[in-house]
Symmetry: C2
Amino acid sequence: MIFTMNSQDLLEGLNTVTRALSARSPKQILEGILMTAAGDRVKMTCTDGSLVIECTNAASIKEEGQAVLPGRLFTELIRKMPAGDVNISVTDNRTAVIRCMKNRSSLAIMNADEYPEIQNLQSGTVVKIPQNKLRDMISRVVFAIATDESRQILTGSLLEVSRNEARLVALDGFRLAMQKLFQPFELPEGIDVVRAIIPGKVMNELSRILPEDDAFCTMLFDKNRMQCTFGNIRLTSGLLAGEYIDYRRILPTDFKTEACANRINVQDAIDRASLMAREGKNNLIKMSFHDGILKITSNAELGDVEEEMDASLNGEPIDIAFNARYITDVIRNVSDENLCMKFNSNISPCVVVPENGDDFIYLILPVRVFQ
Amino acid sequence: MIFTMNSQDLLEGLNTVTRALSARSPKQILEGILMTAAGDRVKMTCTDGSLVIECTNAASIKEEGQAVLPGRLFTELIRKMPAGDVNISVTDNRTAVIRCMKNRSSLAIMNADEYPEIQNLQSGTVVKIPQNKLRDMISRVVFAIATDESRQILTGSLLEVSRNEARLVALDGFRLAMQKLFQPFELPEGIDVVRAIIPGKVMNELSRILPEDDAFCTMLFDKNRMQCTFGNIRLTSGLLAGEYIDYRRILPTDFKTEACANRINVQDAIDRASLMAREGKNNLIKMSFHDGILKITSNAELGDVEEEMDASLNGEPIDIAFNARYITDVIRNVSDENLCMKFNSNISPCVVVPENGDDFIYLILPVRVFQ
């Protein structure tokens, strides 16, 4: 294998595919990057055994072939190369020689025959979603994906695409996040709904490598797997098996109290109150809506913090307590001028909704502290 | 104690003094900040038992007094406060109440009577050095201060001020760094030389809090201690006792080979070679100067890196090896266009000197690898 590629293209490819690289795999070959030179393209492939990321770039190929290069070291080396062309040459089964300007490096390679075979999806249901919209949806729900493995199904996020809307849902038993997309997206003729539970780790990596433009990401689903193709990148992953929780049943529809306050004020106040909450045992903050005032408080042995601000209140006054982190995670994802919360009681779920429209909903379980 | 201070002034003061704060001290009181309100000034004090940093700011004082506030939490809280006035009120011996806009926080305080007495230096020798020059000198030698406690005297840096020049020296047994300052600085009449060995930790903190302007920093030395005063800040520290190594004897004066190469080219090449050196056991890089070419190489089981560039050579060709980190540390401190190195042999110290002048000298011991 002998080819020349622009160092910037090579680095971008490596940065993308190494998101699936195993740092310390029991299988040493998975610490490598499979480079495949054929035609006028070079494909880079990394996999941790379940997630596969491939990236294909134009290159000037002198000799076709394959080799597995040490992933971390190769990427670090290319990252430090000057802008220009990089020539990579593998002429025996032991060493890749890398040349760039007056640098000449050699890296021990692994046998490409030992690299696991990457099986692409041959058929399935195709869903198309703009890259930037998909990226956005993911970033607005991932924080609520369960990290605790005790209920495995909750370590994934539910993608549910029907003819009218696409929904992405995550929940961990304490909070739920749902982001909707009304248009544009594409579902094949004759299919009413597609449901897939995508592993949390895959969601995280996908949101990091999806470009920010609005070209479509093509998602191909079969029973057990998903394959996303966008630009010169292809990501393949297993799906989680089983039934996701019926989240519709969890979402309350009627509320006794609706309250809004300036989001930035709430965020700053919670930021300060969290300092003290963290000192306490339960990381608790209390929110009290009374007479047009929102009071946010927290306390610990070392002291307490109390914040006041204007709030609009519709319905019964309420005193309610939350884990500070759950509130912080939610506020970070709201960009409206005001934060709007709806309640029934201080022991039933609170929901955070947009000021206008209904493209997201966050549900948070309160902590029982009030008698 | 009741006073009001601008939140930005308060935060700057806290950021400065908490550099001497003990993170987890066996003496709990040292995790606190001593606040002293008197006249129209508030003084903040932190100490870890040996280093003391004090900062004094203008404030509007309603009631004079003292209190010890929990250092870390108080600083984090003030960091998150909006711009404006902060009012701090201690009216009993248990709690400080902090008010800023619509925030009201309370913090448990400690008894100011238990805070260690801070003894200021009453007399000694005064040396004055511009803040920015002192800061610069420190940053150019600290990396060579020994971290290994086995020779305690080397965990400090020698400041040597004579009538013609001020020198700061650090060495750890493998390398030596010396930075000179020719002018401006001030030494009292009738004193020929001042020598003090300042602990490395103090050097680090001093370089972080010294302002970047050219006002003079007043350094007062007695036999055992040093007190630096600059702006509204005072830093007091013990000195290391004993004789520093006679560094003059270590510095070679004649050389068989002098070589120069473009500093940025050398830095980039060493950067890449270091990647491979790190994979090896000894973190070694080799430099070979022959026929107007500098070749930099490193190797490990995983491969090797080889770099070539133009170099000017005066004297005998040389092949020499170094610990990659020692070379990297030095290059980071050189800002000349070319890096100039002088050698006698590949088993005797190499020195790095400025392209012009003699305001610094770095000495590095090579590693014996060539026969």
